[in-house]
Amino acid sequence: MNDILFMMVVPFIAACLLLVTKNDKARTVIAEIAAAIIILSSIWVAYSYLGEPQTFEFHSETIDLLMFAAEVVLGLTIIYLGIKHKKYAASVLGLVQLCMSVYFEFALKEGIGVENALYIDDLSIIMVLIIGIIGSLICVYAVGYMRDFQEHHKDEKDRRPWFFFLLYTFLSAMYGIVLSNDLVWMFFFWEITTLCSFALIGYTRTEEAINNSFRQLIMNLIGGIAFLAANMVLAYQYGFLDIQSLLASDSDAQWILVAVMLLCLAGIVKSAQMPFHTWLLGAMVAPTPTSALLHSSTMVKAGVFMVLKLSPLLTGNLAGYMTMTVGGLTFLLASMAAISQSNAKRVLAYSTIANLGLIVACAGVGEPEAVWAGIMLMIFHAVTKSMMFLSVGTAEHHIGSRDIEDMDGLFVRMPKLAIVMMIGIAGMFLAPFGMLISKWAALTSFVDSEYIVLIACIVFGSAVTSFYWTKWLGKLACVVSDAGNCEETVHKQEWFALGCLGVLTIALCLLYPVVSSETIIPWLTDTFHSSGEELIPLLESNNMYIVIMMAIVLILLPLPFFGRTKKRVVPNYMAGVGIDDQSYVGSMGATVNVTLRNWYMNAWFGEDRIRKIGEAVTAVVIVALIVAAVAGVSI
């Protein structure tokens, strides 16, 4: 158990050190050493506890008290900040939450002690590895990135110590979320991640950043309040406050169902599902490592982790239908909205929302097969998406734009980066790479769930997904003859992180059966009390071999053939009036440059239109089903 505590505390210590370090060199050293320790300790923990789920007796009044005190301080801070920036909604919600926690602490929590405050099982181990490895890689990347960032924003005060403090604190809090058995603890860490994210989004302190950070805060406070309400329901009705007891209880009981729905709601907010998805979009104003760390690979994963954790309680009940519907619709609508975006980070944000939707929907189905797909999606998504964010960040610093249109011919200008990006995009939607395997499993299990809305959502959603990724891929692949190479100045930390993630993406594609049999299947067997039998069609050896063979072919094929042609290279056809590939002779002999843009179909998939539909429908679904559950309706 000490090793787990060590793992949880290291990032926080590193954070405190980084807060007081002003020197760039020292910061680099500390950040890198801390990252190495975090990676190693998480691997160690995974190695020692894999396949051996256990809870740890760990209870201390002092820590509980400290947490409560911290919560009160944070609550007061939120109220103060809300008033200072004239965001009264945040203050009001902060006040509500504060009152609720105080009431909870003194009136309801009496006598309910959780003896085993910590636990670890295979699902937590997966999360620990995601947080430890990917999180640390992103932190390493951030060192190089923030150096450039500061140079691009010279006139601003150097707040990097604060930035790194937040990043590393955040890692600690994430560990807390995935390892706490005590719901009160979990709630505390949950709120910490919200606040870290709030501060990181507002990092640049521009007006836009502050507005968006408050949007994030307000929405996540709603989630926090739902979380707290669930805790209150559980304490008041049943007198327990730990996850193990919750999972062991009967989901048909009315108030258990309500509590589960409230917890799912908290998860839905955190994982930026509709109608709460706008906070994630707003969060894209933050420096790119923030987006990668918080908004693609880890923090939003806390939300889906929660829903996945609860998935055994979601089978075929109101809570299940709520998560399925919200997840499915979010997947479809967010994918559609992604078409209309040309800002690479927003495309990534929408795609993140969509993929999280898929995971949430998988969890909502609540069958082992679906949950298998959900966890696989989570793993692949964490690796691939953080890689995509980081490459967009690097591209932005070197080509001066994060617009996909400006990435025209990136293949020539930044070949290595373009290849990393192409691996990432291929990993996001293309057979035989990661996401697709899980999507395949998801599709099968959705059909098995016989919930027609979900089937329609995934069918149309996948079509849309291929569309927006391929058009981006095309832009990257485009060969522009006159462009110069401009990737000489990329920092080595950035290459290191990108390289590791790239290798990880490919390795995962080849090794996913091992990952599945070592971690996910045992967890599912434990949780659902079923053998892995149901998963056989999915992992049917024939299909698996073919998929892996396809992957190997696709990886090896480029080596001897890519770009090696003996053919004569000739200019493009330009109706006979071309000057070179990018310009032609217009009327009156003038030279006209060619500009080409992708299609965005705003009239069809415009953001506003999608947002209105999505928010209205999902909000109605959530409210109606929760009300129904409170009223005692059951199906």
Binding site: I452, I455, L473, P558, G563
Partner: protein, 289 residues
């Protein structure tokens, strides 16, 4: 025993598939000509064309396009091979998408205006078509309990009866996939130019020949999918399937000659509406019975 049949089918497809596809393409040109009161080219004209392209001077707009087209051809063959080997239908669909993506990349990579617009139009058509084919796989699964082509065939009854809605939707989608008018937006097989043939603008010589050969394979596989609706594991089913597939081919030629090209909006809208009404409707019916 039955395993050997599937392996034989798979090998047969890889070896004979392109010849069949070539003859089909020849029939297409011949029938189209007759419909227009013309004599038309010799039946094996597509083969002569490909031979000619192979012998031409090899040029390319850039050093990578070849590779993309090679992968496209390879995975088109793999897709068909998986299908005719009786394996998973979803795998077939995903592999098809993969092949498609490489074709689109090949077009994008040239950086030519025409190719890029063509590539995007191709993506629209793919987006319109994909729901239909996915729903088809889902309905097979709901009906027979398996995604595997061999299980579907050995199911013992013709799937077309409970899957009628999807069958019609698939025939509709076939028009897009076979690049027939009214939905031949990106790569019309008629001698057009500029945008309507945008995808192919920068392909020439051997690259263009590979594209043609890939289309032959693709046509055979798609007709195989039509036949699958009627396959019930007996000779009767096989014969009925092949006959219907050929009828579908003729129907597509007729549609091709009888309709004007429509806009991409119409393609997308109609593809989705058909997918939603007939496809999802069929899912609903299967859920109820």
């Amino acid at each position: 025993m039955s395993e050997w049949i599937w392996i034989a089918m798979c090998i047969l497809f890889v070896v004979v598939g392109p010849l069949v596809g070539c003859v089909l393409a020849g029939i297409d040109r011949k029938i189209s000509a007759r419909m227009q009161n013309r004599v038309g080219p010799p039946l094996l004209q597509p083969l002569y064309d490909v031979k000619k392209f192979m012998a031409k001077e090899q040029i390319t707009p850039n050093k990578v396009q070849d590779f993309y087209v090679m992968v496209f051809l390879l995975f088109t063959i793999v897709t068909g091979a998986i299908f005719f080997a009786g394996m998973d239908l979803l795998l077939v669909i995903f592999s098809l998408t993969l092949a498609e993506t490489f074709l689109v990349l090949a077009a994008y990579s040239s950086g030519s205006v025409y190719s890029q617009i063509g590539a995007q139009r191709e993506l629209y058509v793919a987006m319109a078509f994909e729901p239909i084919i996915l729903i088809m796989a889902i309905c097979y699964y709901m009906h027979t309990g398996s995604f595997s082509v061999s299980d579907i065939v050995e199911n013992g009854s013709m799937s077309v009866v409970p899957l009628l809605g999807v069958f019609i939707a698939f025939i509709f989608g076939l028009t897009m996939k076979l690049r027939k008018s009214p939905f031949d937006l990106s790569l019309s097989h008629h001698a057009h130019q500029d945008i309507v043939r945008g995808m192919a603008t920068e392909f020439s010589g051997r690259t263009y020949a590979s594209l043609e050969v890939a289309h032959w394979y693709e046509s055979v596989m798609l007709l195989g999918m039509v036949a699958l609706f009627f396959a019930d594991g007996t000779w009767v089913g096989a014969v009925v399937g092949i006959v219907v597939a050929l009828l579908a081919w003729v129907l597509e030629i007729w549609i091709d000659n009888g309709f004007a090209r429509m806009t991409w909006q119409t393609a997308l809208k109609s593809g989705w509406i058909v997918g939603l009404v007939l496809g999802v409707g069929n899912v609903a019916v299967l859920l109820l019975i």
